[in-house]
Symmetry: none
Subunit: 233 residues, 2 copies
DNA sequence: AATAATTGTGACAGTTTCATGACACCGATA
DNA sequence: TATCGGTGTCATGAAACTGTCACAATTATT
């Protein structure tokens, strides 16, 4: 589960900070200061992703990227380039070399992590793209389809994401704020109560089919998606 | 319960506005105009979060951030940096010092509050999340569920917290004041006898299932949650 | 036994929280 | 431009929750 990320960056403070942030976020960081060091560390086990600084002593990062892309075993490792400025020319050169994404300095920890996750998701489309089935509810993220007991539903985008989140996080209470973070996104600022309304819409959409109370209100805490019927004592 | 937030900002109008917004949203604001003032105020009780302006007389905010991150006790206090758009290049320097997030001026109150909550949520999770089992009583804080001998209970928020406290503090007498402190929160003014009523409600909710007297009254002292059948002191 | 102290219990009103329908806004599209 | 689906916010009423009280029941004290 823990992804290995190789950080190639010559400036020690930035490198250490990146490592710190990565490990805070559950990644496993490996450090390299130079292209030579990096090449030495790209052996088995191969890292799952490489964070590559653009300006490096002993050659630009693109050089390393190119050589990696030529090797059968390292060819598929995604690379995120760290560039000092958003320079169009550099980007073009980078894309030639098969760079997967860019993060322009300065960047925030949040941004970095978000990019990394995005790239991993894109390259390894495993879990997030798998169809889910839960108590007769089928959700196919790829086809963007939902059905209950083989009767298909018509959901709006937000309702779809909300249901998707719930289906992958069942039997657990989430506060309105947590739902906003996970379904709407971290930098969206809407009222807590907006969640209520969407819960309502989703409930309405999946109502009437078998199991009544998939979405349960936990007063004072939030909502829970559960297969167990809400029984009271 | 109330989070303490230290606002380090030299411009009075902005500082006061921030304080106002914070207090509107249930936070407890402490103000500081300079780095020196801020350092003087970062003593026990340590603030839960620091809002730090970038441009300050007597040094940049990063300086303060760095010194905080070096101290064992202040190291974990999350910092949100306030930067003006023009300061963007300094992001790297801030990042370097271990900033948790940025809010770029001008910002809306909504955005500020959302960021603060997100950071607090990210920094202070876990710990109280483990499921407990005690003589057939199961309590799962994550799912927010309680059952006795696999029969699920329906508890209100206060009853839930009270039971949670008892399950993590069994076989020991607690006075009404202690229970108020631990379950209601420290600076809440309610009558002692309120505890009695909630004890009653909790007793009622878990009654009839096997062991009769989980909650024992210790006359003159308080209450005790116990697995042993009623014995007296 | 009588009295005092303490706790149990039911009721109640004020408050908080939630469900729900309505509505205005926005971007896409015809 | 007009329409339409999707979305966020608000007002409203219902329901749940909470703290407090009055009084009953129990236990301790004289």
């Amino acid at each position: 589960m823990n992804r290995q990320i190789l950080v190639v960056e010559d400036e020690a403070p930035i490198r250490e900070m990146i490592t710190f942030v990565l490990e805070q976020n559950g990644f496993n960081a490996i450090e390299a200061e130079t292209i030579e060091q990096a090449q030495a560390k790209i052996k088995e086990p191969y890292p799952d992703l490489i964070l590559l600084d653009w300006m490096l002593p002993g050659g630009t990062g693109v050089k390393l990227a190119k050589s990696l892309k030529q090797n059968e075993y390292t060819r598929t490792i995604p690379i995120i380039m760290l560039t000092a400025r958003a320079d169009e020319d550099d980007k073009v050169k980078g894309f030639d070399a098969g760079i997967d994404d860019y993060v322009t300095k300065p960047f925030s920890p949040k941004e970095l992590i978000a990019r990394i996750k995005a790239v991993i998701r894109r390259v390894a489309p495993t879990a997030l793209e798998e169809a889910i089935e839960f108590h007769g509810i089928k959700l196919d993220p790829v086809a963007h389809r939902v059905s209950i007991n083989d009767k298909s539903l018509d959901l709006g985008p937000t309702e779809f994401r909300l249901l998707h989140f719930f289906l992958t996080h069942t039997e657990r209470v989430y506060s309105r704020e947590q739902l906003l973070d996970n379904v709407w996104g971290t930098n969206v600022y809407v009222e807590d109560r907006t969640v209520d309304v969407h819960i309502r819409r989703l409930r309405k959409a999946i109502a009437g089919e078998g199991h009544e109370d998939f979405i349960q209100t936990v007063r004072g805490s939030g909502y829970r998606f559960s297969g167990k019927t809400k029984d009271r004592a």
